[in-house]
């Protein structure tokens, strides 16, 4: 414990000395996020400095081993680092799917050479990754994916297309599920490949959502050649890695019900529907908001409890499905209430008054929450099967 207190003091001192003042202001827009990569244009010298200093300490990925560019911190130390950064209002020096998704997968499934090749570049923000999972035809039945990787001796020949590849148009490399054995049962012919997005035959097309422009792309592979050294894990065993990453992703999306706006629903509604004796004049909306707040608070506690259960070794592996399902449905409900409370003002789509249709776009965007990262229906299937043990689920 004493060591941890020392670590806390040293960390604070280091951050105060090294985090540029510009990086200690809340980010104003998505543009302030540093994604890194070959073509990254730093928004400011401060952004570059902050990344370089953090990467030098391995603190862009504090818990990864030092030999792969990480900070080698224990879980407790990493927690202290995060806390201290929050206290000092330090921005994240680097966000990336490499850190959130590929890194953990490589640490678990990659070979030594792959770890040494890719992890340090992720940690330093040199290579930006995107994810190639879903396909236009696959949907919830992810394992039905059709992108082929044919064995051509030293290389695979990849043909097909992926959808919902976030920032594929800006990424340097992709980690990708491909079918290497078309004759095997669908879960047993899938492999996990890495390749450079600058390879000949790769092209991307941005996807516009009902909420407007989005980071999503459709990505096409037309006779792309990929060295066999870029296969992660065993041939035809890619589904294990996919499942590992899907659980990971669910955990990230599940927290959504709790994103708290600055203004509470009760306040937003008071402005539009008015109040009588301190109670919202729209009594139905009032009870809908109260019912939502009850569920939202209880859900936050459920997330806390899931963490505490994990700590004492009682976590159920399918609990991430519960959190993903409940959290995303809750967030959709919240956005419906934001729209109800906002009335016609919330229906505006462009212009400064509505901050370019902020409410309406956020509401529409929320509808994807229960689709992306495994639909609500898939989560319910998983709960029925893995927690309740219902037959044939």
């Amino acid at each position: 414990m004493e060591n941890l207190e020392n670590f806390r003091k040293e960390t604070r001192a280091w951050l105060e000395a090294n985090c540029p003042p510009e990086m200690r202001r809340s980010s104003q827009s998505e543009d302030d996020t540093c994604w890194g990569g070959r073509h990254w244009k730093f928004q400011s010298d401060a952004q570059r400095q902050w990344l370089e200093r953090m990467a030098a300490k391995g603190w862009t990925v504090p818990e990864w081993p030092r030999e792969y560019g990480g900070g080698g911190l224990s879980r407790e130390e990493a927690k202290i680092l995060r806390q201290t950064m929050r206290e000092l209002n330090c921005r994240s020096p680097l966000d990336s799917f490499g850190i959130w998704m590929l890194g953990p997968a490589l640490l678990k499934y990659g070979n030594e050479e792959q770890k040494r090749e890719h992890l340090p570049k992720i940690a330093r923000g040199e290579i930006r990754w995107c994810q190639g999972y879903s396909e236009p035809g696959s949907g919830s039945d992810l394992a039905s994916l059709q992108t082929r990787a044919e064995d051509k001796g030293d290389q695979f020949l990849v043909n097909g297309s992926k959808i919902w590849t976030s920032y594929a148009d800006k990424a340097d490399w992709i980690f990708c599920l491909v079918r290497t054995d078309p004759n095997a049962p669908k879960h047993e012919g899938i492999s996990f490949l890495l390749f450079d997005m600058e390879s000949a035959g790769v092209s991307t097309k941005p996807i516009i959502l009902i909420s407007g422009s989005s980071p999503f792309c459709q990505t096409f592979f037309d006779d792309v050649l990929v060295p066999k050294a870029n296969l992660v894990g065993k041939l035809n065993k890619g589904w294990d890695i996919a499942k590992y990453l899907l659980t990971h992703e669910r955990d990230m999306i599940g927290g959504m019900g709790t994103t708290s706006e600055n203004r509470s629903l009760g306040q937003i509604a008071a402005d539009t529907v008015g109040s009588h004796n301190g109670m919202l004049a729209d009594t139905a909306l009032r009870s809908q908001i109260a019912a939502f707040e009850i569920d939202a608070l209880a859900f936050r506690l459920t997330m806390d409890r899931a963490g505490d259960m994990a700590k004492v070794g009682h976590a159920h592996p399918a609990v991430s499905s519960l959190l993903k399902y409940y959290g995303t449905e809750l967030n959709k409900r919240r956005m419906e209430l934001v729209m109800s409370a906002g009335g016609t003002d919330a229906l505006e789509w462009e212009g400064e008054r509505s901050r370019e249709g902020r409410s309406a776009r956020a509401w529409l965007r929320s509808k994807a929450n229960s689709i992306e990262g495994g639909t609500s229906e898939v989560q319910l299937n998983i709960i029925a099967k893995r927690i309740l043990g219902l037959p044939g689920a």
Partner: protein, 379 residues
């Protein structure tokens, strides 16, 4: 009256459906949107509506209209909902025509109704001042000045307010916000000095505007109905608008539903059509029931406006409240059941979600109408 369309109404529906499918499918809305059309609707299409008599659907034959009823207006609204077609039908042919035909003096009718029928006049109702519908809370003032009035205040989400030439403006001649007494309706020329209109860009790419009135002159002749006693006229025309918008939601939600059912039959996952999954079957069947129950209520509301206009308040609220809820369920289920593709702009289903959200809000959302019904039933 039997809760079914009669032969003439069925024919009107079939004609409207055929015409709109051909001339104003959803691609029509997309073109207006993507070209950032200044009007937000097609004047050529509106001319077609006029030729078919739709602009005068609620206008008495004496003034050149078809002299039909609210059921017929609802039939057209439902079909417009199915194709998400923006047009001045709601503002002009439903709201304005109904208000003038019912409350206007002979002179006012003579002045305006033939022009509406002929498609020469786009007119609308300017009522709401806040983001939520609160007709009794109108604060805009009309102060006596000489023989007439000076109007000052601001209206929001005025349907077609950016193109309307005639505004039916509700203002307060006495009393205070919250009173139903003291309201008066005025027929105001949109080009009168002091009227300023700003088009609203809306999520559904339909048309609305914010309009401000800065000491706008209104003559004594411009009063529609009685001074200080505009509430009953306003409630009447709002009920007409509510029932019409409910009918539009019936059309939009049933179209979204039928596209969803088709998708359930066609889309394969895990080796079978997703419509084979019982969880989706039950949700679709439940939704079907909700839509059928709403349809009965909306038809009854329209019939009641035709039969006993002054006693339609309760059933109109039932219809509007239910239509808002069942259409919201329909579009939410539609997007969820379509999955990722339903989230893309390129696919039409999301456009139904956008329009239904706007219709839910127009002239009172489901909560407003549930509250209204509770008040009517004294609890």
């Amino acid at each position: 009256m039997a809760l079914v369309l009669n032969d003439e109404q069925t024919m009107l529906r079939d004609n409207a459906r055929g015409f709109l499918a051909k001339n104003a499918p959803i691609a029509h809305l997309r073109a207006l949107r993507d070209n950032r059309d200044a009007d937000g609707f097609s004047r050529a299409l509106w001319k077609n509506f006029v030729q078919m008599g739709w602009a005068g659907i609620l206008v008495p034959q004496d003034y050149g209209g078809l002299g039909l009823g609210h059921v017929e207006a609802g039939v057209v609204m439902e079909e417009l909902g199915r194709t998400l077609t923006p047009s001045p039908f709601l503002s002009t042919a439903v709201l304005a025509a109904s208000a003038i035909a019912r409350a206007g003096t002979d002179q006012q009718k003579e002045n305006y109704l033939p022009k509406i029928v002929a498609g020469e006049l786009i007119a609308t109702l300017a009522v709401d001042e806040t983001a939520k519908h609160h007709p009794e809370k109108i604060a805009m003032t009309a102060t006596r000045a000489g023989n007439g009035f000076k109007l000052s205040g601001a209206k929001t989400f005025v349907i077609d307010g950016h193109v309307a030439k005639l505004l039916i403006v509700v203002a307060r001649t006495s009393g205070k916000a919250g009173d139903t007494a003291g309201l008066t309706l005025f027929l105001v020329d949109a080009s009168a000095p002091g009227v300023r209109s700003e088009r609203t860009s809306t999520v559904d790419t339909h048309n609305a505007a914010r309009i401000t009135f800065d000491d706008v002159n209104a003559s004594a002749d411009s009063v529609l109905g009685k001074i200080d006693a505009g509430w009953d006229v306003l409630e009447g025309v709002l009920n007409v608008g509510r029932a019409a918008v409910a009918a539009e939601m019936v059309g939009a939600s049933e179209e979204a539903f039928s596209r969803t059912v088709a998708y359930l039959k066609e889309r394969k996952q895990f080796g079978k059509a997703i419509g084979e999954f019982q969880a989706l079957q039950h949700r679709a069947a439940h939704l079907y029931c909700e839509l059928e129950v709403t349809r009965a209520a909306v038809l009854k509301a329209l019939q009641t406006l035709d039969d006993s206009y002054d006693r339609a308040g309760a059933i109109v609220s039932v219809a509007k409240a239910r239509a808002g809820l069942s259409a919201t369920l329909a579009v939410n289920e539609a997007v969820q059941m379509h999955g990722g593709i339903g989230m893309t702009d390129e696919f039409d289903i999301g456009l139904f979600m956008k329009r239904v959200r706007v219709c839910q809000e127009l002239f009172g959302d489901s909560n407003f109408h549930a509250d209204r019904l509770a008040r009517l039933n004294r609890y």
